[in-house]
Amino acid sequence: MNGILKREALVKWAPLIVLLVLILLFTVLEPRFFSVRNLARIAISSTPALMVALGVTFIIIMGSIDLSMEGTVSVTAVVFAFAFLALGGTVLSWAWLALPLAILVGAVVGFINGLVHVKLRIPSFMASLAMGFVGTGFALLLTGGDRIRVEDEVFRGLLTERWLGFPVMVYVAALFLLIGWFIQAKTTLGRNFYAVGGGEELAHASGLNVNRVRILGFTLAGMFYAVGALMAVGRIGIAETATGNNFMFMSITSVVVGGTALWGGIGGVWNTLVGVLIVNVIGNGMVVIGLPGYVQDAVLGLLVIVAVVLSTDRKSISFVK
């Protein structure tokens, strides 16, 4: 009995322990790692990835997968930038409307994604991957390969304005993290995600409209991707087709490393926060202690395996494909 309890506790806390060990390790090797300036740098690079990872967390809890984030981020970033510049180019004018517009576009892309997956009965990884390509292509069509600069000082205040050493975008991200937690823990929809992920047949037999939950899940994910896109534009000041690059690998790695199981039903937004921080602490720490870039990828790959081994009780799961 005692053994099982220990195992459960370890599984639950493993990702956080990994994060703390990493922070300790990098701090010992280079004390400057643990300075407020550097923690702020890690927070800045984590912010867009966290938003995208939160979106895909809900999908993974349902036992599905969403690979459309790169296309969705690119297309929402580009639409936002065009609308923002067309409406006046500063948050203090009507251009603020571009912010909700971007989130709406993200929701629409996610909604179509969900429809394609559920109504055409295409596996979610295939439907979303295809939608991602459509998004990237559409962004390229809109921009013609150009970059759009968003120079508004007020919008860029997300990066340049600091409270207690951290830029505003970090606090905005924290707010959306709380929204994500609220949806997960306090709404029927959030609980339904777990029901679908834990056992779709059972959820269906209990009278749950599984298809509706799935479509809503993808729509919600699209909205979080859009917030991620806004953060990415806020950080770099450029919207382009390449804005979405790397988000697929980053976000799914983060979710898995954080301890959310790919077969659904286990994990949540706090796991994702820890996962995103682990990935970004490694990315930053490697450069700070002076290890070459290619070692970084290898370490990240190994870490995914270690995290999955530590954070899931694989004996109880027959998922070995």
Binding site: R41, G145, D146, L159, T160, P167, I236, G237, G283, G290
Partner: protein, 369 residues
């Protein structure tokens, strides 16, 4: 949606031209047959002009092809007269397309091509030479393959060496740093040739500046966001020790500038490479101290022009010196002093070039190490 309609129309036209060309090719094949097989033609009066390249969604190749079209237009033809062979990054497709076009035109072909990878250059050149066509290549070629080994048919090869221009931008940077302090380099994908050459350029310049330390060189994969993160890491690792940044290209520089802005650093000396319009703007604002423009529009036009004029017999490649057969393409340094002038003359409006001035802007014969 009118652009789609236009595109379909153009494709139809191209196909029609292609069919006409094939019919003409068959006719001349019969005529040539009368003089016996394998006879070398002195000149082709009206060769098909073709450009073989990766794809048009890439801004660099888009510029190359726009140069090819400008050249065709300078001959009094519509720009649709240029045949496009798009390889989408496949060497096999590049070779197969060339062979098909040679068969249809019976070798009456003036071909400009990037063969996608270096080993693919030999089979392409051999196929063209065997069919009696004329080919000019850019970028990819193995070191043992030379135009002069193929008589007139392999007209020329042009490539760009980034080492020297990168060294020059590095000197501008090191001067701006006052010849002391620490410099970091953010590179391209580590295995890419331009990435290697651009870092080497910095190393070459550093030899003359013993008081400047190369603090670190990390790949940023030609990517703005990656560059942003790498630069943030550098700032933690070295802090105020960094007094200058050498970027392998413009997209990396954008990420570096934003990473510095996040820390409230506005006056860090930075140099980059490629001469993108946005980077030129930043050079004019002195946010970047120098970038290098390789004029892909001219490169695309002149490569097609060389193949065409060799095919028509306007000049005889085998009578030209080696530096007219293998040469480096142009590089133009853009600095704050001339950024506005450069922008006006190259970016705001495309200059009209003399496509018969083959070697004026080039940079000397290719050197092998």
């Amino acid at each position: 949606m009118s652009f789609i309609k236009k595109h379909i129309e153009q494709e139809k036209l191209n196909r029609r031209n292609f069919l006409f060309a094939s019919a003409a090719g068959l006719g001349s094949f019969a005529a040539a047959g009368m003089f016996g097989p394998g006879m070398a033609r002195a000149a082709i009066t009206d060769p098909t002009i073709a450009w073989s390249y990766r794809n048009r969604t890439n801004p660099y190749w888009n510029e190359i092809v726009s140069g090819g079209e400008a050249f065709v237009q300078s001959l009094g033809m519509s720009k649709d007269a240029l045949t496009h062979l798009i390889n989408e990054g496949s060497s096999e497709k590049a070779l197969a397309d060339v062979k098909a076009l040679l068969a249809r035109t019976n070798g009456q072909l003036a071909l400009a091509i990037d063969t996608n990878d270096a080993p693919n250059c030999r089979p392409v050149v051999e196929a063209v030479a065997e069919a009696g066509g004329y080919v000019s290549t850019i970028w990819n070629k193995t070191d043992d393959l030379h135009p002069w080994d193929f008589g007139d048919n392999y007209v020329s090869h042009m490539t760009w060496s980034d080492e020297k221009p990168a060294e020059e931008t590095a000197r501008i940077l090191l001067e701006a740093m006052g010849g002391k302090g620490g410099v970091v380099h953010l590179g391209g994908i580590a295995s890419n040739n331009p990435a290697i050459e651009r870092l080497q350029g910095l190393r070459n310049a550093l030899v003359d500046y013993p008081d400047v330390e190369l603090l670190a060189a990390e790949p940023a994969d030609w990517d703005t966001q990656k560059a942003n993160q790498v630069m943030s890491g550098f700032l933690t690792r070295f802090g105020d020790e960094i007094t200058g940044v050498h970027c392998a290209n413009d997209t990396i520089a954008y990420g570096v500038i934003e990473a510095l802005r996040a820390e409230g650093i506005e006056d860090m000396p930075i140099v980059s490479y490629d001469g993108n319009p946005q980077a030129v703007q930043l050079v004019a604002e002195r946010k970047i101290l120098a970038t290098v423009f390789t004029n892909p529009h001219w490169g695309g036009g002149i490569t097609a022009s060389l193949a065409y004029h060799a095919a028509t017999g306007a000049f005889k490649p085998s009578e030209e010196p080696n530096e007219h057969r293998e040469f480096y393409g142009p590089t133009i340094m853009v600095t704050p002093e001339d950024a506005a002038e450069f922008k006006a003359s190259y970016l705001d409006s495309v200059p009209s070039y003399d496509w018969a001035d083959f070697w004026g802007p080039t940079n000397g014969q290719i050197q092998y190490k």
